[in-house]
Amino acid sequence: MEISRRHFLKIGGICVLGLVAQPLVKAFAQSDVSKASRDPKALTGKKWGLVFDATKCKYSEGCRECILSCHRTHNVPAIDDKKEEIKWIWAEPYENAFPGQGHEYIAAEIKEKPFIVLCNHCTDPPCVRVCPTKATFKREDGIVMMDYHRCIGCRFCMAACPYGARSFNFKDPRPFIKEENKEYPTREKGVVEKCNFCVERLDAGLMPACVEACPHKALFFGDLEEPGSDVSKILRSHYTIQRKPELGTRPNVYYIIV
């Protein structure tokens, strides 16, 4: 049988197309019966939120419990170099946490007062919008979650986050973790990471590590859509503010200033 070059290329092309199509067909044909279920102990909510009460926080007196507990729980490395620092939860003075919301005559103790900052788990998160692989995504309960298996390390999310909540693993973090929590993974070099609102603890029926660790009851966590929850009650009874509300991201971390 004679096969012309053109004919051969045609057949070859169809074969290649078939090879490409095969995994696609397989992916769609696969039965989607998940054999997994939620832990019955899991805490469920429609929109998790956190309130920080600056009047109760004793950070300026040296308390670091929330930060230590979070970073220990999640194997967050302690990197001294500010440029490559990794942090999920930390403190910023009022004027840095709320730029543009102060003025030149503001009382010095407010201006310099430390405020606990972390990922805001925005209702409309820019980081989720820009991620090219859905490695950052929003769960149904409002948590902005990261899939470290999928992150390609493009750092678009870091450019998009207006709160500086994201850290990048410029190098292998393992040598900088003092004591490993064997029940939680670490991250590896080349991926971005951030606070996950303690997804793994909520799914097991526990409150976030920072909230549980705070000895002064300055942190409150709960479902913002549930009128009876702690956070809803506080938001109704106190004057609270958010970080950079003008950007339209609708952050879910709230602050009591005075």
Binding site: A36, S37, A42, M145, H149, D172, T186
Partner: protein, 134 residues
């Protein structure tokens, strides 16, 4: 244009190319490595009355990678952390906290086969290996 006097060079080039292509074969000739025998001898497994993994041995052998892939997606993306096995038993979905609790001998259990078939899953850059019990 192919000229006749280039013939030796072309043949030489082809021979070198084929030689390089077949590198893994001739490099390993006579160096047959022993088939791996994953060890199930760990303290946790010894204490099990019924020595069975989350699914049947044959299924685990063939499809553990697919299962782990599903596990990962269920937990990370859906938040479903309980695995319901074929026989109805329930397990916590976790590489570190479930799999490796029994298979605490990662070197004998995981690495042996993976090395033998020449695959390098990158689980352990993030998931913490158990401290090997010798």
């Amino acid at each position: 244009m192919i000229r006749m006097r280039d013939k030796p060079y072309i043949i030489l080039g082809l021979v070198i190319f084929l030689g390089l292509l077949a590198f893994p074969f001739w490099y390993n000739v006579g160096k047959a490595s022993a088939a791996p025998e994953p060890s199930l001898d760990t303290p946790a497994i010894r204490q099990l009355s019924q020595k069975q993994c989350v699914e049947a041995r044959s299924y685990m052998r063939k499809s553990h990678m697919q299962l782990l892939n599903d596990w990962r997606n269920w937990v990370v993306r859906d938040g479903d952390r309980i695995y319901v096995a074929e026989n109805g038993k329930k397990y916590e979905i976790s590489l570190q906290n479930s799999c490796l609790q029994c298979h605490s001998n990662k070197a004998q259990f995981c690495d042996q086969c993976h090395n033998y078939v020449g695959v390098a899953p990158d689980c352990w850059t993030c998931h913490i290996e158990p401290e090997e019990n010798k």
